[in-house]
Subunit: 242 residues, 2 copies
Amino acid sequence: MRYKCILAYDGTSYYGFQIQEDLPTIELELKKALKNAFGLDIKVYGSGRTDKGVHAKGQVIHFDLESKIPAEGVKRALNSFLPKDIYISSVEVVNEEFHARFSAKLKEYRYYINVKEYDPLTIHYMPFYNYLDLSLMEDAMKLFLGTHDFKGFASASIDERKDTVKTIFQADMNILDGKVEFIFVGTAFLKYQIRRMMGLLIDIGRGYYKKDKILEVLEKKDPSISHRVIEPTGLYLYKVTY
Amino acid sequence: MRYKCILAYDGTSYYGFQIQEDLPTIELELKKALKNAFGLDIKVYGSGRTDKGVHAKGQVIHFDLESKIPAEGVKRALNSFLPKDIYISSVEVVNEEFHARFSAKLKEYRYYINVKEYDPLTIHYMPFYNYLDLSLMEDAMKLFLGTHDFKGFASASIDERKDTVKTIFQADMNILDGKVEFIFVGTAFLKYQIRRMMGLLIDIGRGYYKKDKILEVLEKKDPSISHRVIEPTGLYLYKVTY
C-alpha cells in the first residue's frame, strides 16, 4: 500500500530535508518514526529537498507499507513518534502510480519578511528588512513570470546536465500587518532559486539595482551575477499540487 | 549616569532571565554585551525574572555607567554585541531614584494559545490546546481580578516571608485569528503565578473544573491544589509601567 502524507515542519533545528548520515534532518526523523511505528526500514520519498533552516507548511512525501493500515492510524502512529516540530497533517492511501516527486505538477513557495521593527522573536521565521521600496519589488517580481532558463538564479554547483528551464505561473506580493508575503508558484524550482530571486528583489527594493538586473541574470545564465542567496529562515514550502 | 532599557527576547534558547553561572541566560548576555561595549563589569537590574522558555516584549532593566554616553549610542553598542534573539528597543537616561524592580508600578503579562490546528512552527511561542470552552474561561478569569492572597497559585518553594497578597487590575481574553490572547495586568506576580492561573483556566475550559475551583485555591492558599504549571512557551512579559 502506498501512503501520501502532507507535513509541516519548523526547519530551525534541522540540516534540511535530505538525510545526511546522523545529522538531524527531516528525512531521518521520518525514517526513525516509521521504524518505531512499523518496525521496518522504510524508504521515504519527498516532493523535493528543503535547505537547512527552510520551513514547510505543505511538504509531501510517500512511502510503501506491506500491510494495509487505515490512513488515520498511520497519521496517529507517526505523529506520536515524530519530534514536536514536525507534524503530519494528512495521510491518504494512493495508487502505486503516485510519486511524491515525479507526480508533482506545481510547487508553491512563500517568503516572509518583517518590515515593521526588528523583532528578536521572529528571526527564525521572517528576517527583518527595512528601507525597502515595496512597489519597485512588486513590479520587478513580475519579470519572473513565464518560462525562462533560471540557471543564473541556481546554485553555482548545479549539475551541468540538469534542465534549468522552468515556468513560473504566479509571482505575487502581499503587504500584511507589518510583514510582507511573497508567493511563487511554478513547475519546479532549482536549488537556491527562490533565495537568489528574493536576494535580488531585496536589492532592487533598496535601490541598489533596477529591475532590468533580473533580465540580465536570466540572459547571462551565470549564478555569480545574482550573488546573494538570502537567508533560509523566511522561506516556506507552502503547497505541492498533483 | 543611570540608563533604563526596554528589551525584547525570545526565551527559547535561555535558562531564564537570572544569571546561573555560565548557563545561557538573558542577564549573562546583557553583562557580556556591557563588558564588550564599555570594558567594565556592570551590574544589571531587571524588573523581575522570567522563567526558562518565557519570552519578553517589554522587559525593563537599568544599569549605571560612569561616563555620559548618549542613549542612542548605548542602544547601538549593546545591540551590536547582543545575540540576535535579544534586542534593546529603547534606552533612556533616568535619574538615580529610578530602579527597574522597585520603581515598577504595574506589570503586564500575556499568554497565547493556538486553538486552530496543531502547528509545529509555533510550538515555542503558542502551545496548542483544543476542545476548550472559551466562554467558560473568559468568565472564570474575572475571579482573579482584585486583591487576593495568591499563595495558592505560587511556586510551592516560595519563601514563607514573602508577601503573597497582590492585586490584579485587568484579566481579559481576546479571540484572534486561530489564537487566543490572555492579558493580565497587576502590581506584581509571584513565581509560577500566571502559569498556574493559566493551567487552571485551561482545565476549566476543558470542563475538568468549575470556576469555583479558583476561589478554593485562593482560600486554601495551598499550591498543591492548583497542581498544573502550564508550559512557559506561551508566556510573554509584555510591559512594565513606572
